[in-house]
């Protein structure tokens, strides 16, 4: 398939996934903000949300102070924020539009209608109807788009690049959510949070749809290290780093070409690390360090995938019939 086509498919999937994850992060914060807390705490939480996406500076260029309304406006609607939900859904749609002939009509229409509907939402309307419902809507559109992808697309290269985009993006987001919350909830030196943190940890789990799963898997109290274990190492947990890396690796192997061996090796290595890793080791070494390293590797993988498959490199000398 055309390199450019693969590039659009990959980014279409990444932006859709990103929109979903932002909705998850915002939703969880919004829910937490409904619980009793001081203004300082509230502001800290919204600030952390911006930090997850690396958007603190960009935010302060547009707004003087952090407040729930400002952060929501910025992260949902602001067209100048390339990571706002609106921008992501638009980018997903634009990428889909560029390769609409490669998509099944169901997938194209799903992506297109999501964007058309997004244009109908306004901050004013959300105030009236509730933001949580909007976040639900974003999540469901993302679920729908994945379902339509799996339910209608031929199992060929196109599907593989979509899947790689989805899981690379999800791995990145899961790591960020975990990292920021971990720092916020476990101030330096403190090993375990008090009982009051129960809501915070459960909210974190909910943000990755893992609250019920946690109960089923551990049948026990919610502890920070188990939460980290679930989000990093449990391969049966669909949003964990381990699951994402397994999907990235498996899909990469299918599309491999004659210069992608090193990229596959690095993806495989990362997949093996999560598969055989132990949470006690990670916590002992420092969770934050682990996350920073993992984020770096994911970025490296993204760059390598772009070089190997997506960026059209002109090498006429290698031309073969």
């Amino acid at each position: 398939m055309l390199s450019r086509t693969a590039d659009h498919l990959y980014w279409m999937a990444r932006y859709m996934e990103r929109a979903e994850n932002i909705a998850r992060i915002l939703d969880v914060n919004h829910r937490m903000s409904l619980m009793p807390q001081s203004e300082v705490q509230a502001e800290q939480a919204w600030g952390a949300t911006l930090r997850i996406m690396g958007l603190e500076n960009a935010f302060h260029q547009h707004y003087a102070e952090i407040s729930a309304d400002a952060v929501l406006e910025f992260m949902i609607f602001n067209p100048e924020n390339p990571t706002s939900i609106r921008s992501c859904l638009r980018a997903a749609r634009e990428n889909a539009h560029a390769v609409r002939g490669t998509l099944t009509s169901e997938l194209w229409e799903t992506t297109n209608s999501t964007w058309l509907k997004m244009r109908d939402f306004t901050p004013h309307k959300l105030n009236d109807e509730g933001v949580s419902e909007f976040f639900e809507w974003v999540k469901f559109r993302s679920h729908l788009s994945r379902g339509v992808t799996l339910g209608t697309m031929l199992q060929d290269e196109a599907l593989r690049f979509i899947r790689i985009g989805t899981f690379l993006e999800r791995a990145d987001n899961t790591l960020r959510i975990l990292d920021v919350k971990y720092q916020l909830l476990l101030p330096a030196g403190e090993v375990e949070g008090g009982a009051a943190d129960f809501y915070q940890w459960s909210a974190l789990l909910r943000s990755v749809s893992a609250f019920e799963i946690y109960r089923r898997v551990y049948r026990d109290l919610i502890t920070p290290s188990r939460v980290a274990e679930m989000m990093l190492l449990r391969v049966d947990m669909p949003r964990s780093l381990a699951r994402c890396m397994k999907e990235v690796y498996n899909n990469l192997r299918v599309v491999s070409n004659d210069h992608s061996a090193e990229t596959e090796r690095r993806a495989g290595q990362m997949e093996a690390n999560t598969r055989f890793g132990k949470i006690d080791d990670i916590v002992r070494e420092g969770l934050h360090n682990y996350v920073v390293q993992a984020l770096g590797r994911i970025q490296d993988l993204g760059n390598r995938i772009a070089d190997d498959f997506l960026v059209p490199v002109s090498k006429p000398a290698e031309a073969t019939v």
């Binding site: 398939m1 390199s3 638009r90 297109n112 290269e157 690049f161 997506l310 019939v321």
Partner: protein, 472 residues
């Protein structure tokens, strides 16, 4: 402007429903108005969801417009279509022979049927094509011939579009929409299907591959997602199951064209290009073009790749060449033309210019190289000021204009704000030339939605209708 007498597709002069519209008319009168309104809204919503839209430059981000779709079909009885189809085959055959001749021995010029300078000084004449052989001697592989009905319902050819004619996707999508909205209507009529077009197109494109290529790779070349016809490019590539490429996706190496894929370079044999000549190859034509492929012309001249349509086909569809098409039919085929031309005055001729200047308020004046309904004067619809300023243009550069009588274009009942009213229309059938000349029954019917307007172009507020050719 009002054209007093025009041919009505649905009613005869006594106001009786014509036989081929009888069943439709009966069906329509049984339909409650609310139901019709609901179906029309449904059609709009569906077109939006399908993304059958075109981008509008300079408007708010993501602004995309629909081409208005009218739910009353244009119906053509079998006997009329058969004549039309034969006439179109004949005409396109002659046009292809003409283009081949111009780029080889120029017999028609030597015989004195067309003034040589008319052709050789034409902006669409491509010297680089002189002496170049193309597979099957086919140049205009895809032709979109604009046909109108005037007078008592006679068909006239208004224009031959031989460069990158668009609109065929609407022919197919309009039919799908009608079948979705009004399935039962199709049990009352035997409407000739059109959905074979992508198959026919692919077969034709494969049949004109470079000599010696047994399993050719075909691609569609688009200027990109922001082109107004992008939907159609993507649609055709998808329906044919071939890659939709942009210029940057391809490169030329040792006389062959390759596309960059995730598994390395892959050779391309036939390019259905939807990019104008000028932008195809920055080394040969406009150097600032980023839509083309450097070195493409040379690969093409060497026979390493087929372009459809051929470079330089435009020399035959120019408005200044149009008046000579009937002559081409006689010269190359030794036949009398089946389809009429509209009488055309060439303003570069002294006598013609004098005649035109005398009668500006009643004529249609068009730019020779114009397209899309721009740069034209519709005399009867224009104010005195408009006419006098156009007169100045005409006097300054008479060679840039032709003039034709204002045809009383046929009209068909159409949904407009005030209800159902007749609106003028034209028809663009698509003719495919490969080893043989083929066309799907019908084509694209465009309709001028403004009352009295004769301009059907979508850029000028035109809409479309489904076109039914009845099986005999």
């Amino acid at each position: 402007m009002t054209v007093k007498t025009f041919y009505n597709e649905m009613y005869d002069p006594e106001g009786k429903v014509r036989p081929h519209y009888a069943a439709y008319s009966a069906w329509l009168s049984e339909m409650p108005e609310e139901k019709i309104a609901q179906k029309r809204a449904e059609a709009d919503a569906l077109f939006h969801r399908y993304g059958i839209t075109f981008a509008v430059y300079g408007e708010d981000e993501g602004t995309e417009r629909l081409i208005p779709f009218d739910i009353i079909p244009r119906i053509i009885p079998a006997h009329e279509w058969n004549v039309l189809a034969n006439g179109l085959r004949q005409r396109v055959k002659a046009l292809n022979a003409f283009i081949r001749d111009i780029y080889h021995d120029q017999e028609i010029l030597k015989a004195g049927h067309i003034p040589a300078e008319q052709v050789l000084n034409n902006a669409q004449y491509r010297k680089v094509m002189q002496g170049v052989d193309v597979p099957g001697d086919v140049y205009a592989h895809i032709a979109g011939v604009d046909v109108v009905r005037a007078g008592e319902g006679d068909y006239y050819v208004l224009e031959d579009n031989l460069r990158v004619p668009s609109g065929v996707s609407y022919t197919l999508e309009n039919r799908k929409m009608m079948m979705r909205l009004f399935p039962r209507l199709f049990s009352r009529y035997r409407v000739a299907p059109v959905d074979r077009y992508p198959d026919m197109l692919l077969n034709m494109l494969r049949s004109v591959a470079p000599v010696g290529v047994t399993d050719p790779t075909v691609v569609v070349l688009t200027p990109g997602a922001y082109n107004s016809a992008y939907f159609e490019h993507a649609f055709l590539a998808q329906q044919m199951g071939v890659e939709l490429v942009e210029g940057l996706d391809m490169f030329v190496d040792h006389g062959h064209v390759y596309m960059r894929t995730t598994r390395g370079p892959q050779r391309v044999d036939v390019i259905y290009r939807r990019v104008d000549d000028d932008f195809l190859d920055p080394l040969a034509f406009r150097p600032d073009s980023v839509l083309g492929v450097p070195g493409l012309l040379e690969a093409y001249q060497g026979g390493g790749v087929t372009l459809a349509n051929a470079i330089g086909s435009g020399v035959a569809d120019d408005k200044s060449i149009y008046p000579y098409v009937p002559e081409m039919v006689r010269f190359y085929l030794g036949e009398e033309p089946i389809l009429h031309n509209v009488p055309t005055y060439m303003c570069r001729k002294k006598d013609d210019l004098a005649y035109v200047l005398d009668r500006l308020p009643e004529l249609v004046v068009k730019e020779v190289h114009g397209a899309g309904g721009y740069g034209m004067l519709v005399g009867p619809a224009s104010t005195r000021d408009e006419i006098s300023s156009f007169r100045k243009l005409l006097l300054a550069h008479p060679e840039r204009y032709i003039a034709q009588p204002t045809l009383a274009l046929s009209a068909c009942p159409t949904f407009v704000e005030s209800g159902i009213a007749p609106r003028h229309l034209d028809l663009r059938p698509f003719v495919l030339s490969g080893e043989e000349i083929q066309l799907v029954p019908g084509g694209l019917t465009r309709v001028a939605l403004r009352e009295g307007s004769l301009v059907v172009n979508s850029s000028q507020g035109g809409g479309t209708k489904d076109t039914w050719v009845l099986e005999g």
